[in-house]
Symmetry: C2
């Protein structure tokens, strides 16, 4: 990285031998061998590029000690930095956005807590403490923090595999707090160890499929409330749910419930449609859920529909979050289970939050430090687990509303948090007559947005392998369970990476007419091959995982060409040129493979020629003495230079 | 792959608009968009390249049905194919080689079975059946089959973690056969499913380290026999072993044993040295072990040294392999343990055998089908597990002797097998007075060859990361255990691959003086940057695992350049050219990253230009409409073409 500034516009005096005056001069340009690097320089630059690629200490350079301390505190609490520039105009934006997302989150929270098999107040709790903590520590200006559908479902599924939430509600809740605690620890640890890049291993395609599948699963779960069914399966796969629904048809369905649910679902969807058509009316879908709750509650209250079998919320605990530090399992069997569940839920929550953070930061063109963001999310969940919250993260739908309502900073989260506080303190009794069906309708209309049909179509168009990952995750979630879907998504993502490093592409190059450029003859069918020469480009670093394959693949190209030549009665191949431009690195196995290739070629009377090896490769080719085995004079800067030497007649024909 | 023959020496008539008459014409050459590929063509070619890259059915093409059947049988039993050309001259070579490796393997077998905590005859059994089966099915002509030191140690360690071999010898033996059976199943399955490439994931460096560590561990274990210690630790780490040795010093050491062992170790090492110096005398180290056994046995017999505390073999069961099918655990707790141990031992055995097969095939220039080879090795271990053998594989040292003794085909294994048969049938009583110390000396002198000091030095020179993997595996085995060492080796190997796909290299390019070539300015410091243009080369496919990093890294390059320019008071950057030659593939996340990059650049008033995208990338850039977002006219064949358009003045200066 050093020395980058050299070479600016200067034309230096150079050794004339290594500098032919024109491309077509007889002396080819020598391939540069980079200066030998010290092991520690090399090692530390790799470490830096891996873990500190964003240069987080850039602003700390050349500062006094006290200034460094201030910067350090500001790094942990960005609010101290941007708070100084906060003003009334910004607050106006934040206030409106905060009120809007509060009206959206309150009914959602109550519904989502059911997905996690917890009482409704826990959803509200999770919209009180975590947003506060995030506002102090987070760096995204647009994210809206709170419980979200997918994480609630995931947590609920994983937890009920361990403890029955109906038979042992206390143990279940304690395990939930334990999982939340370790979700926070996981997130903060990834951030502190600067391992944030690990979440990039969940590919976009897999996330699209997983989210879509989770949305379907969540919507299906809502049919319980929507149809007023009392005995519902605990499984989440589509087959069990459908069986459960149809076996309870007629006698198990409650018609007043269905009428209320359907009417309000239509209302919510129309509101959503309006918001989509006219961006200015974004507030219509944003306040529609609260309006539905108020209207339906009032309706049930005056008609006493609860006596006709319409299930209602009945009771939400009044008052703010009780402390729950003592409920976390720090010992015993459940500790390990909590760690495992927290790890999975924490990573999925991270994926969602980081994706949101990046998206909106890109739209407003500001930077987000992924690792710092993870520390903030982790801290907020750790704090949450001690105050009766379950895993919170950034919500896609609420963040979009927050953005459209004109939020300026994380203060909008504080506004929302204050509204939730007031609700918990004073308004929970008002929810007594809220029908469960309305919560189901709200959740259904919310999760529909997670099914990204257009993204799936685009994935199909761009990359078929990605599409398989996407569909694998989708069907895994829908037909098996969220865990299976997640497992499929991760496995396919990894398989793709491993495939890339195991079976890299190779291509035969030809000369593009009337130029000096050699390119893949599949992409440029007009390119012509050079008689007596095979030019192969290897499209990957040569590592232990692919060195054997590459060696054998090159020999296979050579054999195929020779068979064609023999069939056509043409002279045999004399040179094999390997275009090394894409070969960015080589390891010991790769060097061995090249040595073996060289030996085999010598037996076949074919000369091995290298074109344009990069700095790392040149370094290693020299370190291993392979350079002298091949012959320094057979390593060229470009394929054109190599052809100039191997087949001068052809080169001149142009 | 089709259409490869087009373009041979022809100069086609081309559309004149897309074909400038010279490199420097004003109209740049258009980047080729490959014809749209059918999904199934693409998918099947990927599958073919992944699993059938060696085109195993090549010879089956255009053959009659009966011929296909014959070819199929020959594919499973290659002996039917090469057997036809077998003659007396070849047999002479095989006979000598077979006798030589037999003399070497008999004492080794007896020693190695102790490493596996089994009675001596099981080592001999394993040198009788498996080589026979391999000779019928294998395709390597030089490999010598039988028990080997590292696999014996690994198996012994893994098995004694489950069952105590002294307290429960029967169960221990049964579990050993179970593990052997599943080792065979693992090997055959990998071969049949054509997943042979999976063993390439164990890097050469890791194998060097692991083997070296295992050799040290094995040698340390031999100190028990060498020093005549009776109470010896069961652990294999160097610290426990050293404690065990020093705590029994003086009172526990047996001096007559040490004298015999040391004398013969010197003899063996001298023989080894002679064999190394004069290639013609290869038979000296090959028969030295048998000579030592004969001499030492005779010596003990006449001096009755066993009464002075020199431990002897005492008893080897007479007769050939008893059947053991009924001893394999097909149900119960031990089944799963057997599967797990078999999996690990099978894969390590494979790694060794395949490496040997490849090495010698390369030296004699014949082809080996790795997958077929795995089926042969698997079949031989399955057969072995039913006839009281434990895991056998190819031995490095014996294969080298086999090769040097002039073996021609796998018949040398049959010769060896026959000698072992005769030994089992008639000569086992002769080993009664063989001192254990001599076996220890033989094993020590054999495993010393596994410590490949030169390879480690070369690894250090070529690739520091590989060296870390090598040392990790080495110290893991020496200081912890073989399993830990193996785990470290595999983990570091994988970490390296993941690092490669997560943090690819990028480079800033400059123009090499008086050429039209743009190269890494770190490798060619004389290259000059183009005013107002930043040229970045991305050295990897752009996938979900690195798309964010690449986007941010490119922006970081741009920012750094701009900071320099501002400091120098020079005009700002107008163009960012991404040289895409090494970008062999891009997925949906990669396309999204480029879109985001484009948007950010637009905000900064910098134009994005692409140079030389490959066929796959062009295809996807078009499928996703990114091409029209960037502008077709901003995608060039070469960086030179792009500069020609972006900075015509600079391009003409040359």
């Amino acid at each position: 990285m050093e020395g980058r500034s050299e070479g600016w516009f200067e034309t230096k005096e150079m050794d004339i031998r290594s500098m032919p005056s024109s491309r077509h001069a007889s002396l080819p340009y020598r391939v540069g061998v980079p200066p030998k690097q010290n092991f520690w320089t090399e090692f530390s630059s790799t470490v830096k590029e891996t873990f500190f690629s964003d240069d987080p200490l850039h602003s700390f350079k050349d500062q006094s000690r006290s200034r460094k301390f201030v910067l350090g505190v500001q790094a942990v609490f960005p609010i101290l930095e941007w708070g100084k520039r906060y003003n009334l105009k910004k607050f106006k934006g934040d206030l409106i956005a905060g009120l809007t997302i509060a009206s959206l989150c309150i009914p959602q929270d109550i519904g989502y807590s059911k997905l996690a098999n917890l009482s409704p107040q826990y959803g509200l709790y999770s919209s009180f403490v975590p947003p506060m903590v995030y506002a102090l520590m987070g760096s995204s200006r647009d994210i809206a923090i709170g419980p979200v559908a997918v994480v609630s479902l995931l947590l609920g599924t994983l937890l009920q595999n361990e403890i029955d939430p109906i038979k042992h509600p206390l143990e279940y809740r304690r395990l939930a707090f334990t999982a939340t605690f370790f979700a926070g620890i996981t997130q903060a640890t990834l951030g502190i160890l600067r391992l944030g890049f690990l979440i990039d291993f969940l590919s976009h395609a897999a996330v699209v499929g997983f989210m879509g599948g989770a949305a379907i699963t969540i919507a299906l779960q809502q049919l319980k409330g929507f149809l007023g069914i009392k005995n519902f399966t605990k499984k989440t796969d589509i087959i069990s749910v459908m069986q459960s629904i149809f076996s309870s048809a007629y006698h198990g369905w409650n018609w007043p419930t269905i009428v209320i649910a359907a009417a309000f679902l239509v209302f919510l969807l129309v509101a959503k449609y309006i918001g989509k058509k006219k961006k200015k009316l974004f507030w219509v879908p944003a306040i529609a859920p609260l309006v539905s709750v108020v209207l339906s509650t009032f309706f049930v209250y005056i008609t006493h529909a609860e006596k006709k079998g319409v299930q209602i919320v009945k009771h939400i605990e009044k008052g703010i979050n009780p402390a729950s530090v003592s409920e976390i399992y720090f010992t015993g069997d459940y500790l390990l289970k909590g760690v495992r569940i927290g790890l999975v839920a924490g990573i999925i929550a991270l994926t969602e939050a980081v994706a949101i953070g990046r998206t909106f930061a890109g739209m407003k063109d500001y930077q987000i430090d992924g690792n710092k963001e993870m520390v903030a999310l982790g801290a907020m969940n750790i704090a949450g687990s001690m105050t009766s919250c379950y895993v919170a993260t950034g919500s896609f739908s609420r963040s979009a509303v927050n953005y459209m309502a004109g939020c300026q900073t994380a203060i909008s989260n504080i506004v929302m948090s204050v509204v939730v506080f007031l609700t918990l303190q004073f308004f929970t009794p008002l929810f007594k007559y809220t029908p469960n069906a309305i919560l189901s309708s709200i959740i259904i209309s919310a999760v529909i947005g997670l099914i990204d049909y257009n993204a799936a179509v685009l994935i199909w168009k761009i990359d078929k392998f990605d599409f398989i990952a996407c569909m694998g995750a989708f069907f895994g979630v829908v037909f098996a369970s969220v865990e299976i879907g997640l497992l499929i998504a991760v496995s396919i993502s990894f398989a793709k990476l491993l495939l890339q490093v195991t079976r890299p592409r190779t291509a035969i190059l030809g000369k593009i007419p009337r130029t000096n450029v050699y390119r893949n003859i599949q992409q440029y069918p007009e390119a012509s091959k050079v008689p007596g020469v095979v030019i192969v480009r290897v499209d990957s670093a040569i590592y232990f995982s692919n060195s054997n394959y590459i060696k054998e693949r090159i020999l296979r190209w050579l054999t195929a060409e020779e068979e064609q030549l023999t069939a056509a009665g043409l002279p045999k191949i004399q040179f094999l040129i390997i275009e090394m431009s894409p070969v960015t690195d080589i390891d010991t196995s790769g060097i061995h493979a090249l040595e073996e290739l060289l030996r085999t070629l010598q037996k076949r009377d074919v000369e091995l020629v290298l074109a344009n090896p990069g700095p790392v490769v040149m370094d290693k080719v020299h370190a291993s003495k392979l350079a002298s085995l091949i012959g320094e004079e057979k390593i060229f800067l470009t394929v054109a230079d190599a052809i100039q030497t191997c087949s001068p007649k052809f080169a001149e024909e142009v």
